[in-house]
Symmetry: C2
Subunit: 160 residues, 2 copies
DNA sequence: CAGTATTTTAGACTTGTTCCAATCTTGGAG
DNA sequence: CTCCAAGATTGGAACAAGTCTAAAATACTG
């Protein structure tokens, strides 16, 4: 033991993931990957502050460019639920779907029964060459249901 | 004939539609409705310029507030395909879906076999109370397929 | 047809994101 | 190791889409 290269048990080998994707290994990139492993469905700003708390600092622009590189390389998935900033996650390649809370925006994964895209085909493609069927379920999350039964909270809902 | 109230054959009675939705009848609102009848899936700016060409002028802000009122009243549907400004359409209440072109953004309706929301339910709701399953199909439209077969166009695709 | 509630408007502002050119870092060649 | 070119990071400006404001204009009610 002692002086051998320490492979941190806690986390998958992100450096290797990067190399595999032909991306240079940098502190910012490892930081973003570590953040994504903790936070599921995170927006750029949240990631930036998480990385900052790990490394001392990152610029927002770096986070944006790192995320763009990751999405391009296929190691991160980006979703853009209507009315929310883009969210990012490490879970790629399984074509899963999402449930988004109308009240608080919390986003939860739902497995896709099919598992590979496009998991659904419309009756009529209108000549399009389809590669993906993106499904977003909208509703109220358990937490918001509790707070949400009363008229009081309906007012709150409207106000916010 | 002659002096009786002229009900324009060409277009449905938008004034009536507005009154039915308890909304005041104004020139801007009629203009937006007329525009939406022509343009399917239009963004605020496109609508603004269409209304301007009809009435001489409208402010962008008016278009935004008119659209917000319409969506709130349920006479207009808004969709927000990832990476595009919000689109608006008159076709409401049938829970239809959309195909969006990855290259040019053209958006086409697809009928929903079920017709009322939520037309789909995930295997596991995670406690959410669901009211809608939004389905967006992504692919390449016929036009872009033509332009798109060659390497030349793959470069173009990457550039734009 | 007057009065009030609602709508329209210009303009400032916010949020999320991209572009830029200068500076720093990484991984590979020597 | 050490050096260097390709690639990554940065602050700052710029951008796109949309929201907020408070004042002026207009639509419906009585
Ligand atoms: Mn997910
Ligand atoms: Mn439609
Ligand atoms: Zn919620
Ligand atoms: Zn197209």
């Amino acid at each position: 033991m002692g002086s051998e290269a320490r492979t941190n048990q806690d986390e998958p080998d992100f450096a290797e993931l990067l190399r595999g994707a032909k991306l240079r290994v940098t502190a910012s990139r490892l930081g973003v990957l570590r953040s994504l492993a903790r936070l599921s469905h995170a927006d750029a700003e949240t990631i930036a502050s998480e990385v900052t708390s790990q490394l001392g600092s990152v610029s927002t622009q770096t986070v944006y460019s790192v995320l763009a590189a990751f999405v391009e390389a296929g190691i991160v998935r980006r979703i853009e639920p209507a009315g929310h900033p883009a969210l990012h996650e490490l879970r790629v390649g399984d074509n899963h779907h999402h449930i988004v809370c109308r009240t608080c925006g919390t986003t939860t994964d739902v497995d896709c029964v099919v598992g590979k895209r496009p998991c659904l085909t419309p009756s009529e493609t209108h000549g399009y060459l389809l590669d993906e069927a993106e499904v977003t379920f909208w509703g109220i999350c358990p937490g918001c249901q509790e707070r949400g039964g009363t008229l009081q909270s309906r007012a709150l809902l409207q106000g916010a």
